[in-house]
Every structure is written in C-alpha cells, then in structure tokens.
C-alpha cells in the first residue's frame, strides 16, 4: 500500500482534531462523529469546515508550528466561529470574506493567548472564539452585505427543501418523543456545544461521548445537572436555560475540571459540582452586562471559570487532594490510569524521604540564614539542641559537656546511604 503523503495526513489530523478539541478529546473516531454531527445543520457544518481549513492553511502559510497546528489547537476556535456564523448569516460572497477575516482575527488572538498562557500553564479555552465572534457580530451590524439568516424561522420549510416529506415526517416524529424535559434539555445543550440545537445531534454526541470515555460522559451529566439544580434552587432563569441551551457551559466546565486539567477523582467530581453554580452565576452576571451591547455569551462563563480554577489550582502552595494533570493525554481515563501508574511506580520518588537526624524532640537553635553562623555558604544549615521546660540546654551547673542534654545522644542518618569518610579526631568543645 503506497504511503499516504505526509501533507494529507497533516490536513486530515488538523481538521479532524479541531472538532475533538472542543470536547477536550483527541479521539479520532469521536472527532469524526462530531464532524458528521456538525452537518446535521448543514450550513453550520459547511461553514465550520471551511473555517477550519482556511485557518489551517493560514497557519501553515504564516509558518506557525505544524506540530501544534496538527493537534487542532490553533483551529478549534475558528471552527466555533465558523459554526456560529454559518447559523446566523446568509451565505454570500461577502459572508465568506468576512468569515475568512474573522478567522484570521481569531487565529491571531489564539496564537497570542497560546504563547502568553503556556508559561503559566493556564489554558485559553474559547476566549479567542468569543472575542472573534464579538468582532464579527459588532462589525456586521454596520456591514450591509452581511445578512442575518432567516433559516431558523422557517424550520419546516428548510427541512422540506432539504429532504422532502420524509424528513419532515421524521422530524415531527422525533419532536413527539416524550423525552422528559430535563433530559431533553441536556441533550440539546450537549448539541449546542457544536451549535446544533436538536435532540438527534445531542443523542449522537451523547452516545459518542459514552463510547469515547465513560468518565467524560458521567461528568457531562453531573456538570449539567448540578448547574441545572442550582439554577432551580436559586430560582434562576430556567427558561433561559432551556431556550438558549446556555447550559452547555456546565457540561464543558465538567469536562474540563473533572478529567482534563485535573485527574478524575471523587474530589474532582465534587469540584465540578461546586463550580457549575459559579458558572451559573456568571451566566446571569455576564448576560446582563453583555445584553446591554446585545452581545452573545456563548462559552465565556465556562472559559472564565475554568481558567480561573486551573490558575488557582496550579498556584497552590501545597498540592493536596486534587491532582493536576502534568502530561495531557486527552482522555480522562488515560489521565487517571497514568496518574495511578505514576503514583505506584514513583510514589517514593516524588519527594525524597529525609528524616530528621535524631530520636525524640529537639529544638532547632539556628535555621536557614540564621544570622549567627549560617551565612554565605552555610546559610542553609540547621542546628539542633535540646531544652527542658525552663528553656535551659543543660542540667545545672552546666560546667561539663555531659551536663548538656544533647551530649552523647544518638545521631541518625537522614536517609539511607554509604559511609563516605570517617572523621573522629575533633575534640569536644570547651564549656
């Protein structure tokens, strides 16, 4: 079988993996599934795919690191931009030009953020997409050539145009399914992540998620419902949740915190359940502010909360409980197994176990940079002695060395080792 040219592989990977990136996955099957699902709304799908391809070409032309492009990191924000634009605008030449330009802007922002955040090990998530989409939306209001699409309004007509009565009947049948409301919203919110707002897309994605990662699937449920329940509890705008499917923020938060940036554990699940209320609050808050400018929220709440959380967790003084993922394997299961493996193999190597060199209770009489003698080359030394309740280091009268409590006590090796030299000709100090 002839070797497939490298360039084809490059494009295949870059394109396909852009879809997976949105779900924190690099699983090719799942990504292809997402690609296919994105075409359930064919305009969104086409626009999205076009955006991805164009950005990959831009990245190659500009000379960006092809290895990174290949992971889809530079293009997933553009993908989202393309999907959104495909839904909301009429296809026209002007549209495509603006799409390309918008993608370019998004790419610039992406690259800038990627470099800026890589040093602090903090992700940029979909911030470039949001900024890009705002640029496009705000500018498009003053661009006459760009028309808002009216597609959503006449759904059935569209379907008829597309697939005839069969499709319409099928569509109606599906709508009649008595799916419980809570589950219905979950599936639709799931589909909203790639800007498809129907239950079919949601179901397919759900199944795909379940196959790709059970942990991710369970996280998506926990994330969504914890946020949903919180909304219910504080009697927030549930209807808004239902109409705009903004609940997908909860799902993405769960995927990010529960198994991507942190090793999955009961604590990471708990963190998810505690974070989704934060996301919910942010949805309300940002929604109000942005509503003034008529700008959409999309995945801004999720991005901000997850970035904030990851930043805080990476700057812990003591890393206890929630384990950060040090080497990303793009799958919660893989992250978890790798973590367990490391713990088993290297648990004693993470910190070298050093003991204090004595039994019982001693006092450190001079420590780091002690100022008395611990200066210069000796500034990291530790001195130890023993004191009694009155604070004296000796039994009265304290005239001989043996009057001092610490004289003659055993001294232990702080760790296992070999005897390098023996020095035994130093006289005792005089008192």
């Amino acid at each position: 079988m002839p070797r497939v040219p490298e360039i084809i592989l490059f494009y295949r990977d870059s394109i396909v993996r852009s879809y997976g990136q949105i779900f924190f996955s690099d699983d090719r099957g799942f990504s292809v599934l997402l690609l296919a699902v994105s075409f359930i709304n064919p305009f969104a799908g086409m626009s999205g795919l076009l955006a991805v391809i164009s950005v990959i070409i831009m990245a190659k032309v500009m000379g960006l690191n092809p290895a990174i492009t290949r992971t889809g990191l530079y293009s997933y924000n553009a993908l989202m931009l393309g999907l959104v634009m495909g839904i909301y605008f009429q296809f026209s030449l002007a549209f495509f030009v603006v799409l390309l330009l918008g993608n370019f802007v998004t790419l610039l922002i992406t690259v800038w953020m990627a470099v800026r955040t890589s040093s602090s090990k903090v992700p940029f998530l979909s911030i470039p997409f949001i900024l890009g989409v705002w640029v496009v939306l705000l500018s498009s209001r003053s661009l006459g050539a760009i028309q808002l699409s009216e597609r959503g309004v006449y759904e059935l007509n569209e379907l008829w145009n597309f697939g005839g009565p069969v499709l319409v009947a099928a569509y109606e049948k599906i709508n009649e399914w008595n799916v419980p409301l809570a589950f219905d919203i979950y599936l639709k919110s799931l589909s909203a992540i790639i800007f498809q707002f129907n239950i079919i897309a949601g179901s397919i994605i759900a199944i795909g998620l379940l196959v790709y990662s059970r942990i991710a699937f369970s996280l998506s449920l926990i994330g969504f419902y914890s946020g949903y329940l919180f909304c219910y509890f504080v009697q927030g705008n549930i209807s808004e949740l239902q109409d705009s499917y903004i609940g997908f923020n909860f799902i993405l938060t769960a995927l990010g915190l529960g198994g991507f940036f942190l090793v999955p554990s009961s604590k990471s699940y708990l963190l998810v359940a505690l974070s989704t209320p934060l996301v919910s609050l942010l949805i309300g808050a940002l929604g109000t502010v942005l509503g003034v400018y008529q700008l959409p929220l999309y995945s801004l709440p999720f991005s901000l909360i997850v970035i904030g959380m990851v930043f805080t967790l990476n700057n812990r003084f003591e890393v206890k409980g929630l384990a950060p993922v040090l080497y990303q394997l793009y799958s919660p299961e893989k992250n978890l197994y790798s973590f367990w493996n490391q713990m088993e193999r290297f648990k004693n190597d993470t910190y070298y176990h050093i003991h204090l060199p004595f039994f019982g209770e001693w006092r450190m009489s001079q420590g780091h940079a002690g100022g008395i003698t611990h200066k210069g080359d000796w500034r990291f030394a530790w001195d130890f002695d023993i004191v009694d309740e009155t604070g004296k280091t000796y039994r009265p009268p304290g005239k001989t060395t043996s009057d001092f409590y610490c004289y003659g006590l055993p001294v232990l090796a702080p760790a296992a080792g070999y005897v390098a030299t023996v020095v035994d000709d130093v006289d005792d100090n005089e008192i």
Binding site: F359, G360, E361, W362, I386, D388, Y405, G408, P410
Partner: protein, 452 residues
C-alpha cells in the same frame, strides 16, 4: 527589751583525727518551705505528720526520664507502677503525662480502670492472678504478663471460652551480673524455660504473644545489668522472628532504677551513687538498637519505672515530741512518725532537715518514732541541730512505697497533700479516723456486753 531566740545549750566533744563521716553539710540547711508552702502552715492546716507531694517535681522528673529515652529510641512508653504509689491523684498525674498503668493485683487493676485507664493500656503483672481477675483482664484487652506455667494454662483455658484472644507477654528472668538473680519470678532464660513457654504460647495459637518482660531487680545501681537484660530479651525476640516469622510488639524492661535515697550501710550518699536516667537509657537503647532488628520492626520499649519517678517528689513533714538522753550519752529525739508510716526507713537513711532556722551547732542524735516498739528507729545516727518539742522536720524522698506500705498500727495514718504547679496545696487523701480502722470490723453480738 526584746528577748532572744532560745536554743538548747549543747556541748560536744571534738574527736581529733577521725573524720566524721556523718557530718556532711547537706543535712544542715533548714527546709522551711516545700514548693512555696510554709511547712508550719501545712502542718497547722492538715495536721502532723503529713505527706506532701510536689506535682512539679513529678512532672519534671517524668519529663526528664521521658526525654532521656525518647531521644535515644523511636518508640518509648512508660507505664506507672501502681504498687509504688497508688493514690489516685498521683496516678493521674502520670496518666496525664502519658503513662499507661502497671498493676500487680486485682484491686490495683480495678483502681486503674476506675481512674479511667482503658483496658488495653493496663499491664497486669504478678504471680497471683485469680480466674476472675484474668477473665476481666482478657475482656478488657489488657496485657497479661505471665509469671508461671500454671497461669499460662489458666489463660489458655479462659481463651477457649472468650471471644477475645488474650494478649500476653512472658516474664523472663536471667543472669545479668547482679546478685541476687530474681529467679522466683517468670521463666528462666538460661535454662531454656522461657523459650519453652514461648513455643507453647505461639504453637498453641489461642493467645497472642505481644511482648517480652523482665524486671531484674530493685534499686539497681548498675545500668550495665539492664543492657545485658535488654540484649537477652532482644535475642529472644529475634529467635521468635526467625522461627515463627512473628514480630514481638514490645520489650518491657520493668522498673528498678535507683532513686537518690541512701541505702543503709552505704558509704556514699545516694545522691552521688544513683545513675541518671540517661545512663540507664544509654545501656538499654544501645542494646536493643544493636541487637539486629529490621528497621521497621524495632519493638516498642516499655518501662515500668516507679521509685525513680516519685521518690524525690514526696516529703514527710513531722514534729518533735520529746528529747531524751540515752544511757550512753547519746541524744534521742522522738518524732511523731516512725516506721509505721515511714516503712522505707528500714532500708534507707533518709535525709532529714529541720524546718526552722538554727545555729551551726549540732549534735549526734538518734531519731525514734512514736511507737512503743523497739524497732521503731527512723535514723540510728544523724547529726542535727538541737531540736525541742514542737520543732518540725522534713524528711526527703519518701514518695515511693511509703504510701502503699504504711501500717495501720498504733497511729492513725496521716493526710496526704499534693502541691500543684501553681504552688497550691490539694488534699488528696484525708487523715484517717477511728472509723477508717473499724469500718470493716464486725463484732459478733455475743461479745457486745461485758462486766468489769
């Protein structure tokens, strides 16, 4: 004109050329206060004589001992020896400092339980343990230190009836270079009896052998004996590990450390002779650490020290009843306490200090107690300044054994007071009354009446 302080006239012949070995200066300084409390005041309030215990001294001594061992060995546990002093207040001071309890009889065991010590922290020693006592101890998960084979079989029998597996240790006696060997207690190491008993226990599997115990003597002045004992016990433990793959949890070195009292017949003062806790600790811990245990299998070191921890914290305050001149010209002073409440005067020449100021003049005296028994001698020969009736004295280092071995004989037993960390006295045992003597007596009816 203000009158001067009176002191009885004395005249003493000076013996040239012979050093007076009893005339050391240390006996001379007056002790007017104990822990900030005036002797006069205490005696006035609580009666004479009076035992006084200094809580500060207990805690300091305990912490010194603890430190001596803990800085030499990773796992150390003290167990307070109840037979040394089982006044509840004293025991609880030790428990507060982290001590377990070590008891040698049924009533001591009950005392420990009632004080609040949990069963699994009570060590039950002694050759006389009844079936009931053993049953109770097994139920409470206490540590049984087996003294003889009959006891071993008793426990075996009880183990079959109980749901709990008795946790036992055996007491081992051995030659440690001191005389006499206490081979009446426990199983002998040299003739193989100890190994035999160990095998019986482990192969039987109805009891769990958790420790090895030895108690090599009392008032030991030679720490090296302990070192030898520790290494022999360690050998046993390692042999057990080798044969049965079983680790012993603890090695109990018992008690027996000397206090600073001077033994009768001793040329040197006790203060100069008694080895420090550090020297005992050095011997014992070095022996165990060098025995060859694997690093994480070092057994816990248990110590049942009694006398050395409490002796110096106890004082006996008393008063002078009268003076006499004996037939050979020696002065005799009669005090209101004698061997009835100062049992240890049979073994020690206690340091006795006057409780009031005096001049430097002194005379050789003999001190008697209040009993009308000829053996009631507190000190046969002591140099003291002239004392008169109602003068007060302080006897040092009486904390051990006096408050458990005192006699209910002729005199009512005195009160015991403990002075706390803030120098405040607390009554911890009331002075006995006639009722205390008669409370268990039963007079048969036919003896009630009589005509004289």
């Amino acid at each position: 004109m203000k009158k001067l302080h009176y002191e009885r006239p004395i005249i003493q012949r000076l013996n040239v050329g012979v050093m007076n070995k009893f005339g050391t200066k240390t006996e001379y300084a007056p002790v007017t206060h104990v822990d900030g409390n005036a002797v006069k005041g205490l005696l006035a309030k609580y009666g004479s004589p009076l035992f006084v215990i200094s809580e500060k001294t207990i805690r300091k001594t305990f912490r010194d001992a603890n430190r001596a061992f803990k800085t030499r060995y990773p796992k150390v546990q003290f167990a307070w020896s109840y037979k040394t002093n089982y006044v509840n207040a004293v025991c609880n001071v030790f428990h507060q400092e982290g001590s377990w309890a070590e008891v040698v009889s049924g009533f001591e065991y009950q005392k420990a339980l009632q004080n609040g010590v949990s069963g699994n922290k009570i060590i039950f020693n002694g050759p006389d343990k009844s079936m009931e006592e053993l049953t109770m101890a097994i139920e409470n998960n206490s540590l049984l230190h087996i003294d003889h084979l009959d006891e071993l079989y008793m426990i075996k029998e009880l183990a079959t009836k109980s749901k709990k597996k008795p946790r036992v240790a055996i007491r081992v006696n051995m030659d440690t270079g001191v005389y006499p060997i206490w081979d009446r207690f426990g199983f002998n190491y040299e003739n193989g009896q100890a190994w035999d008993a160990i095998n019986k226990i482990i192969l039987n599997d109805q009891m769990e052998l958790v420790g090895l115990h030895c108690h090599i003597g009392t008032f030991m002045l030679a720490p090296s004996a302990y070192g030898l004992a520790a290494s022999k016990l360690s050998d046993l433990a390692l042999s057990i590990k080798k044969k049965f793959k079983k680790s012993i949890q603890y090695i109990d070195m018992g008690g027996g450390f000397a206090s600073r009292n001077t033994l009768k017949g001793s040329y040197l003062q006790g203060m100069d002779l008694a080895p420090s806790f550090d020297s005992f600790a050095e011997e014992i811990t070095t022996a165990i650490l060098n025995a060859g245990f694997a690093k994480d299998e070092l057994p816990m070191l248990v110590l049942e020290t009694g006398r050395a921890l409490i002796d110096d914290a106890g004082f006996l305050l008393g008063s002078v009843i009268s003076n006499k001149r004996l037939s050979d010209g020696r002065r005799a002073t009669i005090l209101d306490f004698g061997v009835n409440i100062l049992f240890t005067s049979f073994w020690y020449d206690h340091k006795i200090s006057p409780a009031q100021e005096f001049s430097q003049y002194s005379e050789d005296s003999v001190l008697y107690g209040p009993l009308c028994m000829n053996i009631d001698v507190v000190r046969e020969n002591i140099t003291l300044p002239p004392l008169k009736r109602d003068d007060q004295v302080v006897v040092h280092s009486v904390g051990a054994y006096n408050m458990t071995q005192w006699m209910q004989f002729i005199s009512l037993r005195p009160a015991i007071v403990m002075i706390d960390k803030n120098d405040k006295p607390h009554l911890i045992r009331k002075r006995e009354t006639l009722k205390s003597i008669e409370t268990e007596e039963v007079l048969p009816a036919y003896l009630k009446d009589f005509k004289l």
